[in-house]
Amino acid sequence: MPAAVSILPSQQLAALNDAYRKAVSRRRLRTVLSVAACVVVLFVAAIGAEVNVATFIEKIGNFFSYFDRIFTLESGVRVWNDISEWFWGWDKWLKLLGETVLISYVGTVVGALLAFCLNFLAAENTAPSRWLRFVVKRFMEFCRTVPDIVFALIFVIAFGLGPMAGVLAIAIHCVGALGKLYGEIVENIDMKPVEGIRSTGASWIDCMRFAVLPQVSAGFASYTLLRFEINVRGASVMGFVGAGGIGQELVVAVRKFYYSDVSAILLMIIVTVFVIDISTGWLRGRLFGKEARS
């Protein structure tokens, strides 16, 4: 089918082409410049991080052979040929895994309780006074910016070795993280019920209890479950610094080259994390309907 394409006079065409080329070249220049900036930043970072490509290429074989080794028993057979030898310490490890989950549970609950008490003071619409809000917000920021394992290092010295330091470290970190999320939920509530309750002469605490809490409890519970999930992961490495749980066994196995133990413990941690992920996901779905799951 012959199509009628109108061809502009070459003078006009040249002007249009020129403008187009200019626009494209400007965009290209910008892309090239930003890529160059990225490359420079990465290059500087590579020097800072002592990146050594030669070592990497030379040693990358070790990475894969490491996985080969952790799946081999001392007798030289693959681990899955002799499950009882592979999981020889399963009762001890299960107990430590239980301790890990318990650490994250207690840490999450204690942290959530504290965050629950503090967040009403930190949310813009419920804070009783401005300076109190400022203080509480800065405190929560501090709690969540310092990594939980740093708190654990300090608490191990103050409270002694053992799960107590891990629990407190997780609880402190949890106050910061949950306090912020809770505060955001409270800031998004409908204020009409609060005004209704206040008009009947209720105190601040009554307002929180009867007007705010019913609106936010589902969101609070959902975030708390999510945090519990994250804290199980965090608690699995608390043992690295002596703060209880399975991490202690893992770090010993890695450092002393008990290869098959490493894979056994890692597998148990991964399965536990999976099970907790799936069950809290299911629980959140059951409790709050599908939209709360994401």
Binding site: A49, E50, N62, F63, T145, I154, F155, F159, G160
Partner: protein
Amino acid sequence: MSKQPDINTSELRSRYPDVFDRPLKSRAAVPTILVAALALLIFGLVELDFSPARMLNGIQQLGWITMMMIPPDPGSSLPAYLQAMGETLSIAVLGTTLAALLALPVSLLAARNVIPSAWLRFPVRRSLDTIRGVDTLIWALVWINVVGLGPFAGVLAIAVSDFGAFGKLFSEAIEGADKKQVEGIRASGGSPLHEIRFGLMPQVLPVIAGQVLYFIESNTRSATIIGIVGAGGIGLQLAEQIRVLEWQKVSFLILMILVAVAAIDWISSRLRFAIIGRRAVA
């Protein structure tokens, strides 16, 4: 006082039975859960050796430590600390970038609108989940075994553990992309690779860039802790100073971390706004 109007509650009761007589099951549910949670909490406290005496003693110690921390003072090792901080930032930037570069092709394999077959997607997704299930610190331990102590092990640890997270996030971004552009490319005779390059990438790259910047920020925090197991950066200094009880240096290092995280936070949010801001506003 005005007299309360007589309300016939029996009529209301019969009209809204759910409000007045909730079944025992739904009334008991919340208290039961709370009591069970409390019981588990108390069991946990007992099981994990919590005692008021230990608690009090520890808090006393902690108070003493806090007193010792003031004022923060780097002593004569300020240059070493600044260098360690630079190392930490390098680890975060490089690890995140590496992870993003590796995750981009893999995330295409995990996205439903690129690979329709569930059989091909399933193994990719599960292996990404497995990688995410292992903490960054554990990856750091593994890499220390491979490339030796030092920040390079940290870079690789962050790269691997973020690879899992990015793979999932990117594939979700790709699945959320608009189909129309892709169909347009296909209609004009483009190959599947053209569809990805000209149909998908322009849509997902800003989202991905935003996520990468956000991760650089959160990885600054992760990079501070992987030093604790020997993978370089400021965490190494921090763990050492805590072990030798140099509390003034510890508080100085913690302050440095706080400032660095805040600075990275500020920079990355500015950059994020520059990349996706206009789009988000429009």
